[in-house]
Amino acid sequence: MLGIFFQQAVNALTIGSIYALIALGYTMVYGVLRMINFAHGEMFMLGAYAAFLVLALLAGDAHAAGPLTLVAAFVIAVVAVGGIGVLIERFAYKPLRNSTRLAPMLSSLGASLALVAGMQILAGPQPVAFPSFFPSVTYNVMGGTVTSVQIGILVAAFVLMYGLTLLVNRSRIGVIVRAVSESRQTARLLGINVDFAISMVFFTGALLGAAGGILYASYYGIMSPTMGAVVGLKAFTAAILGGIGSIPGAVLGAFILAFVEVAGTALLPLLTGGLLGTEYRDVLAFAILILVLLVRPAGILGEPVSEESMVYKREF
């Protein structure tokens, strides 16, 4: 019993840390631009495909790459997708910066549609087997099993999240980004390059999303052009749950969502005597979201609706 519990907890932590990596991208873009970036789920998908492409180029066969090649492919892929994130912002969102709030959101939907369709044309619509980025060894801990892939994902995700915390709180870039998210006008008056700050946000956001995509694809051993849609929606829900705009909120929301999902998958058929199966997992996730928002309309760690955020409400 304890073993099962432990194993489910590790499963939830693994999925949660992947959701968290993606949710961070949503929340950072929202924090700075007050915009929901629907194309962010596609960064997740692009990450997996980019890593696969780099592996195939470096090692010839993506499924037979050595550890060094894997690390190189990971780094090259996430940086490349970060660059793509910046380019998309430059062409699809920047021209709309002084427009209504609905416009960039719908533009990002267009970008999302185009990216999925583009990948379907380039790589075909069928799912592709993805090589694991970690050696697969199974450990028995307290009667449950934990794989090295899960440990690898947890370590990688936490290193990336810690890196982001350092970047935001300790670096010059972090100061600039925080200033811009506080007030774009004031930041500009103080001589801060607002465009650079926004580019940095999109770069780091897309980079983390791509990392999440690579980890997710190695966990399940498969990737497809549409993989970003469902997971992206989940990560977005996590960001809202935690309070969009808040970085710790995104991580907290991701873990809560993952635990609810794993517990739901395990307990729903048991509690209802098989009446409600695991397919209701997503219903549970959205139901939790609605319930939390009823009590805290701005999410768990979100700021309550303030004077400043009310200024925006008239814009569509």
């Binding site: 709309l96 719908l106 533009s107 369709a117 809202i240 609605i290 009310m310």
Partner: protein
């Protein structure tokens, strides 16, 4: 912009020939369509269904300023009402006229069910909760296999008929849709100019001020959700009656997004804009059908380009039906 009455009349007189021409063109188009080959009538039908959906969703987004990303749920409620009540699925074979009020009541119920929990929410939070609501409805339809047929959907729906008149062939559906769209369009247009419509506009512009001058924002918002849901479910009923087959695939998130996009590209808060937006987003994929797999890519890029080129939509609020009518009757 002329503001005093005489120059307004002069401006109206000047635009009268144009307005007459536009009206004549529309009437000619409407009259000619049912004599075209079936393929074109089917495209016209799908266009009209989307116009109807656009008119419904526009009440919430365009008039009341609430971003709803789960509109497709109401469309699904209507479609499944018809699918379950007019097929052998439940053994009931009710006529269309009996199903319509049931579907509308269920739609209104769903609208209020969604409306009550989201009354406190604004902007993006509202968007995600409505999105979640739409997904919940879709997952339920997908999994309540015993009732809804699950992912396979419900097939072999009854032919619709009104008073012994069959409505099954594309041309017959077309006339039904033309009547429904015109009647709904006129009613909604009157509604926008009514006290309720003014309350919606007040909420859209400044919710707190609206509450301050004594508007019951709760009721007004619920009314917006309910009317829009009712129109959405009517569209669903007609959709099911024309396809005579429904499956959860038709009610995905993309569908909701497409309708929002139609409104935004066409021009928020403006029925003429909805027609323009629907025309672009529904007809263009048909025109691009030869480029099958490139179609969605083109559509995605076109969406970005259109939004950047015309952030306020193709037909701005100022060129609403009022202008057309003023041009026609000169007042």
């Amino acid at each position: 912009m002329p503001t005093d009455a005489p120059s307004l009349r002069a401006a109206a007189r000047a635009s009268r020939p144009i307005a007459l021409l536009v009206l004549a063109l529309i009437v000619a188009l409407v009259l000619v369509t049912p004599f075209l080959p079936n393929y074109y009538i089917r495209v016209a039908n799908s266009l009209l269904i989307y116009v109807l959906l656009g008119i419904g969703l526009n009440i919430v987004i365009g008039y009341a300023g609430l971003l709803d990303l789960g509109f497709v749920a109401f469309y699904a409620v209507g479609a499944y009402s018809y699918a379950l009540l007019a097929s052998s699925q439940l053994g009931l074979h009710l006529p269309l006229v009996a199903i319509l009020p049931i579907a509308v009541s269920l739609g209104v119920l769903a609208g209020v069910l969604l409306g009550i929990p989201v009354l406190k929410l604004r902007g993006d939070y509202l968007a995600i909760v409505t999105l979640g609501f739409g997904e919940i409805i879709r997952i339920l339809i997908n999994n309540l296999g015993a009732v809804t047929g699950g992912p396979k959907g419900v097939a072999r729906l009854d032919k619709a008929s009104i008073g012994g008149l069959d409505i099954a062939r594309p041309a017959e559906i077309y006339w039904l849709l033309v009547v429904v769209v015109v009647v709904t369009g006129l009613l909604v247009w009157r509604l926008e100019r009514s006290i309720l419509g003014k309350a919606w506009a007040a909420i859209r512009e400044d919710q707190d001020a609206a509450r301050g001058i004594g508007i019951n924002t709760t009721n007004a918002k619920l009314a917006a959700f309910a009317t829009s849901a009712a129109i959405g479910s009517i569209a669903g009923v007609i959709f099911a009656a024309s396809q005579r087959f429904v499956s959860p695939e038709s009610f995905s998130l993309q569908e909701s997004v497409l309708i929002v996009l139609m409104i935004v590209i066409g021009g928020i808060g403006n029925i003429l804009g909805i027609v323009a937006g629907a025309a672009i987003l529904i007809l263009l994929p048909e025109v691009l059908r030869e480029f099958a797999e490139w179609r969605v890519l083109f559509l995605g890029i076109l969406m970005i380009v259109l939004i950047i080129a015309r952030p306020a939509g193709l037909v701005p609020r100022s060129i609403g039906p009022e202008k057309l009518i003023r041009g026609l009757f000169g007042k």
